[in-house]
C-alpha cells in the first residue's frame, strides 16, 4: 500500500509517520463501518428469511437450472446478433458520414443523430408494439439502431484520428478513396478503436436485459418467472443473488477485455500514427453508457 506516488499524489503530500498513523486510523474506522454495514444487510437478509430452504430449494431442480441456462443462452443469442448487426450498420453509417456526396452525408448524419438522441427502449417498444414484431427481432432492431449509430461515430472519429500524413501519402501514391480507406486508414483506425468498440459492445450486452420488458425470454425473464412464483415463497432476493453476479461478471469480463486490448495497443508500434482513442465513445452525446 506504499504505491501512492501516482496521479493522485498531486493532491496530497507523501504521508509522514504521523499522517500515516492517522490514515491508518481512518482506514480501520471506515473498514469497520463498511463491514458493519455489510453485517447489517446480512442480518436483514437473515431476519426477513431470505436464506430459508424453501426459497433456495427451487434452484436445486434441474428444470429450474435449465430454465436459467436457456435464458442465459437467449441473452447471449440476442447479444451476438445485435453485436454483428450493429457493427455492420455502424460501418455503413460511418461510410455515409465520410462520403464525398453531401446528400449522403446529410442522411447519414440525420440517422445517427436521431437514433443517438432517442432512448433505446422507446425504439424497442416502437418496433414491438407499433410495428407488431416478435420480441427477439424487436429487441435486436432497437439495439442495432442505437449501437450502430454510436459505433458509426466511433468509426468516423477513428478514421479521422489517423494522422493526416498517412492519408496524404496514400493519395499521393495515386490510391483511390476506397483504397485509402480500406488499405490505409481503416486498418489503423480499427486497431486504435478496438477498445472503444468493445466498450460499446458492453453497453449492448447490458441492454439485452431490456428484452425482459417486452417479454423476450432472456435471463432476467427466467429469473422473474422464478421470483414471482407464489409456490416458491417468492424467492426474489435469492434470484437476484444468483443472476446479478452472472450478469455483472459477463459485463466485467468484456470491460476487462477492452482495458486489456487498449493497454496492449498503447505498446503497439503499429498504432503510433493514431492518437489514442477516447475510452468512452462519443463524448458529444453518448447516450446510454
Amino acid at each position: 500500500m506504499k504505491a501512492l506516488d501516482h496521479d493522485s499524489s498531486a493532491l496530497y503530500d507523501i504521508p509522514g509517520p504521523k499522517t500515516e498513523r492517522r490514515h491508518m486510523l481512518y482506514g480501520v474506522m471506515s473498514t469497520v463501518l463498511i463491514l458493519g454495514l455489510v453485517a447489517w444487510v446480512l442480518y436483514l437478509l437473515f431476519d426477513t428469511g431470505q436464506f430459508t430452504a424453501a426459497k433456495w430449494n427451487p434452484f436445486t431442480y434441474k428444470g429450474i437450472q435449465e430454465l436459467l441456462l436457456k435464458g442465459l443462452g437467449n441473452t447471449l443469442k440476442a447479444f451476438a446478433i445485435a453485436a454483428v448487426l450493429s457493427l455492420a450498420l455502424g460501418a455503413i453509417l460511418a461510410v455515409g458520414r465520410l462520403s464525398d456526396h453531401r446528400p449522403v452525408r446529410w442522411v447519414a448524419t440525420l440517422i445517427v443523430e436521431f437514433f443517438r438522441a432517442m432512448p433505446v427502449l422507446v425504439m424497442i417498444f416502437f418496433v414491438f408494439v407499433a410495428l407488431k414484431v416478435q420480441p427477439l427481432p424487436a429487441l435486436v432492431t432497437g439495439l442495432t439502431l442505437y449501437n450502430g449509430s454510436v459505433l458509426a461515430e466511433v468509426f468516423r472519429s477513428g478514421v479521422n484520428s489517423v494522422e493526416r500524413g498517412q492519408r496524404e501519402a496514400a493519395y499521393a501514391l495515386g490510391m483511390r478513396k476506397t483504397q485509402v480507406m480500406s488499405y490505409v486508414l481503416g486498418p489503423q483506425a480499427l486497431r486504435a478503436m478496438l477498445p472503444a468498440i468493445i466498450s460499446q459492445l458492453v453497453v449492448a450486452l447490458k441492454d439485452t436485459s431490456l428484452g425482459y420488458l417486452i417479454t423476450y425470454e432472456e435471463f432476467l425473464h427466467a429469473g422473474k418467472l422464478i421470483a414471482s412464483n407464489l409456490d416458491y415463497d417468492l424467492p426474489f432476493i435469492p434470484v437476484v443473488m444468483v443472476i446479478s453476479p452472472i450478469y455483472i461478471g459477463m459485463c466485467m469480463l468484456l470491460s476487462w477485455f477492452a482495458t486489456w486490448v487498449s493497454k496492449r495497443q498503447q505498446r503497439n508500434p503499429k498504432v503510433e500514427a493514431v492518437d489514442v482513442a477516447p475510452a468512452e465513445p462519443g463524448t458529444l452525446l453518448p447516450g446510454r453508457q
Binding site: 504521508p15 481512518y26 463498511i34 431470505q50 420488458l213 422473474k224 432476493i237 458529444l284 447516450g287 453508457q289
Partner: protein, 214 residues
Amino acid sequence: MDVLTENFSTYGEGFLGTVELTVYASILALVLGFVMASFRVAPVGSFRVFGTVWVTVLRNTPLTLLFFAVLLGLPRFGLVLPFKVFAVLALGCYTSAFICEALRSGINTVPKGQGEAARSLGMTFSQTLSQVILPQAFRSVIPPVGSNIIALAKNSAIAGAFSVTELLGTYRTLNELGYSIIWTFVWIAVGYLIITLTISALFNFLEKRWGVAR
C-alpha cells in the same frame, strides 16, 4: 395527429413525470458521483476500495436488473416507498458511477503543478481538492457530465416500462383507448427530443460560460 391534442393532459403528465425523475435522479447522481470521486482519489485505502467497487459494480450492472432489484428487493426489508422514489434511487445510483468516472478524469486533467502549489501553501487534502482542483476540474467535466445527464433522461424510459408515471408509459393508456399507435410514439419521441435537447442546450451554455479549452 389528434392523439396529442385530445390527450394533452396524459402526455403532459408523462412529460412532467420524466422531467421530475430526471431532475431528482440527476441531483442524487451528482452528489453521489462527487462523493465517490473524492473517495477514489482519497489518501485512505479503504475509501479508494469502496469507491472502486461502487463504480465497477454499477457500471457493469444492466439498469433493468438494477431497477428489478431496487423495485422488488428493497420492499422485502420492510421499506414502504412510492415507485418514484425507487426509480430515482435506481437511476441516481446507476448514473453516479458514470458521473464519478467523468469527475475523476476531470481531476486528472488539472495540471499537477496546481496541486503541488496548493500543497506548498500548506493546504490540506480536502482544501486542495475543494478549493483548487475541483473548481478547475469542473470546467473540463461539463461536457461529459452533460452527456451522462442526457443518458439519465433517456434511461428514465425504463421506469416508464415498469410503471406509468413517465413519458414512455403513456403509450399503454393511449393504446388501450384505441389511438393510432404510430402517432402515439411519434409524440413520445418528440417529448424525449425536447428533454434531451434542452439538457444539451443547458450544458452548452454552462460550457460557454465556464468551460475552458485545455
